[in-house]
C-alpha cells in the first residue's frame, strides 16, 4: 500500500526474504503503527511469530535513526510472565540483531541471573533486557533506577492475558506508571492471546495517560484451524462418576499416542498427572523411557530436562498440567490430548494450540471424558469454538497489598514524594478509584504501622525526611527485596532422596498422614517415606506397589460461565431431541433415562429432584453454573430452607449441580412457595451462609506476604529473625480483634467475595434463576444427573478402597432398575 519504505523497513523485508518467510498482514500493521510512535495491544496467538512482530519494528526504527550509535543504555524492556521463557526470547531477539548487523546486546534478567551478571547489567546496560514482573520491581528497588530506566523508549509486555487479572499484572501497571514519568514518550506494547475483553485488556495495560489516538489494537488475521475429536467410549455409563471412565479409554489413548510424533497429554490436576502417567506405563510398558511427566510440584531440574527432551523430539508423550500451557513452542508436538473437561474455552484453545503451532498447520486435539456427562461439555466446547466465544479475564481492582509493596520498594531505592506517586498511581486501571483517604491510610501504614497514633514512636519502616518517604534501615530494605521475588506458593515440603537428590514438593498435610514405611507415588516413582527432617521429606525407592498419590490443593478449576451457558443450550437440544453432535447422540440412552425418571431442563427451567434413599432425604438442584457458584448457592439455599424449618444438611456439588442431604424430610415445596431463590436479601444470606471469615483467613496469607507482614523465607538465603517469626494467621487474628478496619484485612474479604466466590457471576445466576420456571420432580432413584454428585460426596467421606466397590454396587442396582423400567 505504501509507496516507499524506510531504510529500516527495507532491512526487515530483506531479513524476511533471507529466511524465506512472508510477513503476515498483522506484522506489517504493527510495523506501521510502531514507526508512527504509537503504543498498543497486539492480539496474536502463541507460535504466530508475535515476538518478531514487535521486535523487528523496534530494530527498523533504530536503523532509521541517522546516527547508528550503540550507546550503552537501556532502550527496550521486554516483560514475560515465565522466567523459563525469558532465555528463549532473548536468544531469538539477539539472533535477529546479529543477522541484521545491529550491534545491540540483548540480556536476560530473572531470578536465575547471577549477582555478577546483574552487576554487569547495571554498570554497562544492554540495549534490551528481557525480564519478569518481579525482576522489574527489583529494578525499581535499585538506587539509580531513575537514570537506568529513564532511557527506556519502549516496554513490551508479552503474554499480557496471563498477567491481566493477577497481582503480577498489577505490579506491571505500577511499574509502567513510574516509567511513564521518567520517560514521557514511553511507548507501551502488549501481546495477548484472544480473551473476551480485549479492549479492557488494552485499557488496563495503558492506563489513562495514553490517548486513544496514540494507541492501536492490532488483531492477527490468523485463522488457527483446530480439529477437535472426542474419544467416545464404546459403552455409555448411564450412571457416570468422575475419574472412573477415563482409565477404561486407555487403549484408545495409547493408540493416539502411537499414531503421532509427540503428544502432550493434559490433565486438570497434578494428582491426575501422576495417575495417568502410572496407568499409561502399566498398559504400554513399551513406552517406558519415551514418556515423561511435567507438573508444578516437580523439581525444576526434572522439569527442565523434560522441556529440553520435548524440544529435541526424543519423547513420545508428556503427561502434564497447566505448567505446559504456556511457553515456547515444542516443534515436535503434533497431538494434544485433553483428559477431563477443561472447564474453560480459553484454556482449551491454549492447550490445543500446543500442537501444529506453525502457521497454516492444523492443531489436533483429542478430548477424553472422565465421565460420560463430560461428553456434553465436549459438545458445548466444540460449539463455543465454532462460535468463537471465549472467556474474559476480569482485571483486579484496588489491590492495596501490591500498592503497599510498591511504595516500600520506591522508598528503599530513591525514596518518593507522596503527591507525585499518588498522581501516577491513580492513572493506572487498578487504582483509578483509589481515594485520597485510602492513599493516606497506605502512607500511615508504612510509616506508623497502622492507623493508631498510639505508641507509633517505636515503629520503624518508612520514614519521612523533608517530605521524602525513605527506608533507612538496611535490614528492612534487604527483607523487602527478598520478599519481592517471592512467588506465593502453598507451604510445601521438599521431597528428597536419602542420597540428596531433589524430586519435588508435596504439601505438608499430605505428609502428616503418612507413617514411615508408607509408599506413595510421586514423580512417576514408587517412593517409601523414611522421615521428615528440616522441612524435607526423605524417601527411598521401593519395589512395593500400591502407593497413594499426593493431593495438592487448588487443583480443581471451576466451569467457566461461557461454557456453562453452552452446556445449558446443548442439554436443551437433547431435551427436545435435536442433538446432532456425536457426543450427544452417544448419550441418548442416558438422556432417555433422565427424561423418563425425571426431566431434562431447557434454558428457562431449573430442575430440582427430590429423592429418598437409605442415606436420608436428598434434594438435587441443577443450575449448571460451576462448582464454586454451586457451593455458595447451596449454602444460601440451605440457610433459607432451615429458616422455614430448622434442619441441618450435608452439601455436595459438582460443576452441574448441587445436593442437600438431611436425615429428616426437607420442606422443599414450602421453601419454593416462599420463593427460595428470591433476589431479596440474597447478599446477606450468602454472607451468613458461608464461613467467609475462614475463607478470608486463608486468602489473607497471600496479602500478608505481598504487603510484607510476614516474611516467607527464600530458598538458600537464611535470614536470622528468630524473634520475628509469625504467621499470616496470627496477623489475621490480631487485626480481627484489635484493628478490624485495617484495609488489608478488609481486602481479604473483598477478594474472597469477588474472586473466589465469583460474586458477579453468582448474582447473575440468581437473577437468571429468579426468572426461571422451576420443575420439581420426585424420581424413584438417583437419576443419571444426580448420581455423579452423590458419588463425589461419598468419595470424599470414605476411603478409596471401600468406596469404589460400593459405588459399583449402587451403580449395578441402578442399572438393573433402569433396564426394568
Amino acid at each position: 500500500m505504501k509507496p516507499t519504505s524506510s531504510k529500516g523497513e527495507q532491512a526487515v523485508i530483506n531479513w524476511y526474504k533471507q529466511k524465506k518467510w512472508k510477513p503476515f498482514a498483522f506484522q506489517n500493521e504493527v510495523m506501521q503503527a510502531y514507526l508512527l510512535g504509537k503504543s498498543g495491544l497486539l492480539n496474536a496467538p502463541t507460535g504466530s511469530g508475535k515476538t518478531y512482530a514487535l521486535w523487528l519494528p523496534i530494530l527498523a526504527e533504530f536503523l532509521n535513526k541517522n546516527k547508528v550509535s550503540t550507546k550503552s543504555e537501556l532502550q527496550i524492556l521486554w516483560i514475560t510472565p515465565l522466567r523459563a521463557l525469558a532465555h528463549d526470547i532473548q536468544l531469538a531477539m539477539q539472533t535477529a540483531c546479529d543477522e541484521m548487523g545491529i550491534a545491540w546486546q540483548v540480556a536476560c534478567r530473572t531470578g536465575d541471573t547471577s549477582a555478577s551478571q546483574k552487576q554487569k547489567q547495571k554498570t554497562k546496560p544492554p540495549q534490551a533486557l528481557v525480564t519478569t514482573p518481579e525482576s522489574l520491581q527489583l529494578l525499581l528497588a535499585q538506587r539509580g533506577y531513575k537514570e537506568y530506566l529513564g532511557t527506556v523508549k519502549t516496554i513490551v509486555i508479552d503474554e499480557w492475558h496471563e498477567l491481566l487479572g493477577s497481582k503480577r499484572g498489577v505490579q506491571v501497571e505500577l511499574a509502567i506508571s513510574r516509567m511513564k514519568t521518567l520517560q514521557p514518550f514511553l511507548r507501551v506494547w502488549g501481546i495477548s492471546a484472544t480473551i473476551g475483553n480485549m479492549l479492557q485488556a488494552k485499557q488496563v495495560l495503558l492506563g489513562s495517560r495514553f490517548d486513544e489516538e496514540d494507541s492501536v489494537m492490532i488483531i492477527a488475521d490468523i485463522e488457527k484451524k483446530i480439529e477437535i475429536e472426542t474419544v467416545i467410549p464404546e459403552a455409555i455409563d448411564r450412571f457416570p462418576w468422575a475419574g472412573h471412565l477415563g482409565i477404561s479409554l486407555l487403549p484408545q489413548i495409547i493408540d493416539i499416542i502411537e499414531s503421532g510424533k509427540t503428544t502432550l497429554v493434559f490433565t486438570n490436576t497434578r494428582s491426575q498427572t501422576e495417575i495417568w502417567y502410572q496407568n499409561i506405563l502399566l498398559m504400554a510398558p513399551q513406552l517406558a523411557g519415551a514418556i515423561a511427566m511435567h507438573h508444578g510440584s516437580l523439581d525444576i531440574e526434572i522439569r527442565s530436562w523434560v522441556e529440553q527432551a520435548l524440544h529435541e523430539g526424543i519423547l513420545k508423550a508428556v503427561v502434564c498440567t497447566s505448567t505446559l500451557d504456556l511457553g515456547v513452542d515444542f516443534r515436535p508436538v503434533d497431538i494434544v490430548i485433553q483428559i477431563g473437561g477443561p472447564k474453560g474455552i480459553a484454556r482449551f484453545l491454549q492447550r490445543a494450540g500446543r500442537s501444529g503451532h506453525r502457521p497454516g498447520e492444523v492443531s489436533k486435539v483429542f478430548f477424553v471424558p472422565t465421565n460420560t456427562l463430560e461428553l456434553v461439555e465436549a459438545a458445548a466446547m466444540k460449539e463455543a469454538v465454532k462460535l468463537k466465544i471465549i472467556e474474559s479475564k476480569p482485571p483486579l481492582d484496588l489491590s492495596l497489598d501490591v500498592l503497599v509493596q510498591y511504595v516500600v520498594t520506591l522508598a528503599i531505592s530513591e525514596g518518593f514524594h507522596a503527591p507525585e506517586i499518588y498522581e501516577e498511581v491513580i492513572q493506572t486501571y487498578n487504582y483509578r478509584n483509589l481515594s485520597a483517604a485510602h492513599w493516606e491510610w497506605v502512607l500511615r501504614f508504612i510509616t506508623l504501622g497502622g492507623d493508631s497514633l498510639q505508641s507509633y514512636e517505636e515503629y520503624k519502616k518508612v520514614e519521612i525526611i523533608d517530605g521524602l518517604y525513605k527506608v533507612q534501615s538496611r535490614r528492612v530494605a534487604m527483607l523487602h527485596r527478598l520478599s519481592i521475588g517471592t512467588i506465593i506458593a502453598d507451604p510445601a515440603l521438599r521431597v528428597k532422596y536419602m542420597s540428596g537428590k531433589n524430586i519435588g514438593t508435596v504439601e505438608e498435610s499430605f505428609i502428616t498422614n503418612l507413617k514411615p514405611g508408607d509408599v506413595f507415588w510421586f514423580a512417576g516413582k514408587n517412593l517409601e517415606y523414611v522421615k521428615v527432617k528440616d522441612l524435607t521429606v526423605l524417601v527411598k525407592n521401593t519395589t512395593k506397589r500400591k502407593g497413594i498419590v499426593p493431593r495438592w490443593a487448588g487443583g480443581r478449576m471451576p466451569l467457566s460461565s461461557q461454557l456453562s451457558q453452552m452446556i445449558r443450550n446443548k442439554l436443551s437440544d437433547a431435551a427436545n431431541g435435536n442433538s446432532k453432535e456425536v457426543e450427544l447422540i452417544a448419550l441418548s440412552d442416558l438422556f432417555e433415562l433422565q427424561k423418563k425418571w425425571s426431566a431434562i431442563p431447557n434454558p428457562n427451567q431449573l430442575l430440582i429432584e427430590k429423592i429418598v434413599s437409605r442415606e436420608g432425604y436428598h434434594i438435587f438442584f441443577y443450575p449448571f453454573e460451576g462448582r464454586l457458584v454451586h457451593q455458595v448457592m447451596a449454602a444460601m439455599v440451605a440457610l433459607r430452607i432451615s429458616r422455614i424449618e430448622p434442619n441441618t444438611f450435608s452439601i455436595a456439588m459438582n460443576d452441574y449441580g448441587f445436593e442437600l442431604l438431611s436425615d429428616k424430610p426437607i420442606a422443599i415445596e414450602d421453601a419454593l412457595e416462599q420463593d427460595l431463590f428470591s433476589i431479596i436479601n440474597y447478599e446477606a444470606d450468602i454472607r451468613a451462609g458461608i464461613n467467609q471469615a475462614e475463607m478470608a483467613r486463608r486468602k489473607f496469607r497471600e496479602l500478608a506476604i505481598i504487603s510484607g507482614l510476614v516474611f516467607q523465607g527464600y530458598p538458600g538465603k537464611y535470614v536470622s529473625n528468630k524473634h520475628l517469626q509469625s504467621s499470616s494467621q496470627l496477623f489475621f487474628d490480631v487485626f480481627e480483634k484489635y484493628d478490624n478496619q485495617n484495609l488489608l484485612y478488609l481486602q481479604s474479604f473483598e477478594e474472597v467475595l469477588t474472586q473466589q466466590l465469583e460474586f458477579a457471576r453468582l448474582t447473575e445466576a440468581i437473577h437468571r434463576i429468579a426468572q426461571q420456571e422451576i420443575i420439581l420432580r420426585s424420581p424413584p432413584r438417583f437419576t443419571p444427573f444426580a448420581f455423579p454428585i452423590m458419588a463425589d460426596r461419598l468419595r470424599e467421606s470414605l476411603s478409596t478402597e471401600s468406596i469404589e466397590a460400593r459405588l459399583e454396587r449402587i451403580k449395578m442396582q441402578l442399572e438393573k432398575l433402569a433396564d426394568k423400567s
Binding site: G449, E458, K461, N691, E694, H723, V734
Partner: protein, 222 residues
C-alpha cells in the same frame, strides 16, 4: 471458697493429684486452695518488637495484654502469681516499663518467674520488677513448675508452658478450626500461651491424655 468470686460457669475444675485446679478461658490456671494464679508464655513486648522491625502489628495488642491481665487478677484475687516463662519476648522495649508499672499496682502479691528461652533481659531488670526468679524449676508440692515440659515426674506433677498447644477441631463441610487448649498427660500438663500475639502448635494427644478446649467464654473437655 475463692472460686465463687470467679465467673464459675467459665472455668473448668479439674482434679490433679488430689488438688482442684480451675482451668480458665482467660488461658490461665487458678489453684484456689493456695490462691495461686499460674500464667504461661505472655510474650510481652512482642508486638512492639515487631513494630520496631517494620512489621505493623496493631499497637493495641500490647494494651490488651494488660487489660486481660487486669481482668484475670480481678476475677481471681490471687496471693501469688507464677509465670511459666517467656514473660518478655525479646530485647527490652517500652512494653517492659508498662509491665513494671502494672506490677507495682499489685504490691502485695508475690510474683515468681520460671525462666523461659525468650527471657533474655538482664537479671537486675527482673529484680527491679520484684520478680522472684527460678532458673529451671519451682516446686510447690504436689506440683513442679517449669517452662519447658519435664520428662519425668520425680519432682512432682509438672505444670509447664513453651508449647503453645492447640488442637484442630473438624467441623462440617471439611471446615476446621484451631483452638488453644490445656493439655494434661499422666506426667504433667501444658498451659496455653497467654499472650494475644502468639501462635500455636497443633498437638496430637495420646489416648491417656486429657485435653481442655478454650472457647470464647468457657473451657470444655474434649
Amino acid at each position: 471458697m475463692q472460686i465463687q468470686s470467679l465467673p464459675t460457669a467459665a472455668g473448668y475444675i479439674h482434679e490433679v493429684c488430689g488438688e482442684l485446679l480451675t482451668l480458665l478461658p482467660q488461658k490461665a490456671i487458678y489453684w484456689a486452695a493456695k490462691k495461686i494464679l499460674i500464667i504461661s508464655d505472655l510474650h510481652l513486648g512482642k508486638a512492639t518488637h515487631f513494630r520496631k522491625h517494620g512489621l505493623p502489628v496493631p499497637s493495641e495488642v500490647a494494651n490488651y495484654n494488660f487489660l486481660d491481665l487486669d481482668a484475670l487478677m480481678l476475677a481471681t484475687q490471687p496471693k501469688e502469681v507464677i509465670l511459666l516463662g517467656d514473660l518478655f519476648h525479646s530485647k527490652i522495649n517500652s512494653e517492659w516499663e508498662a509491665f513494671r508499672q502494672w506490677r507495682c499496682q499489685h504490691e502485695g502479691i508475690a510474683f515468681h518467674l520460671v525462666m523461659g528461652n525468650h527471657d533474655i533481659l538482664k537479671k537486675q531488670t527482673y529484680h527491679d520488677c520484684q520478680l522472684t526468679m527460678h532458673a529451671h524449676t519451682y516446686q510447690i508440692l504436689p506440683f513442679v513448675f517449669s517452662h519447658e515440659p519435664l520428662n519425668d515426674a520425680t519432682l512432682g506433677y509438672n505444670l509447664a508452658g513453651h508449647i503453645h498447644p492447640s488442637v484442630k477441631v473438624m467441623g462440617k463441610g471439611r471446615q476446621s478450626i484451631k483452638l488453644s487448649c490445656f493439655h494434661f498427660t499422666p506426667l504433667g500438663a501444658v498451659l496455653p500461651a497467654f499472650g494475644n500475639f502468639t501462635g500455636t502448635c497443633i498437638i496430637k494427644p495420646e489416648k491417656t491424655d486429657d485435653v481442655f478446649l478454650i472457647l470464647e467464654n468457657s473451657v470444655v473437655k474434649m
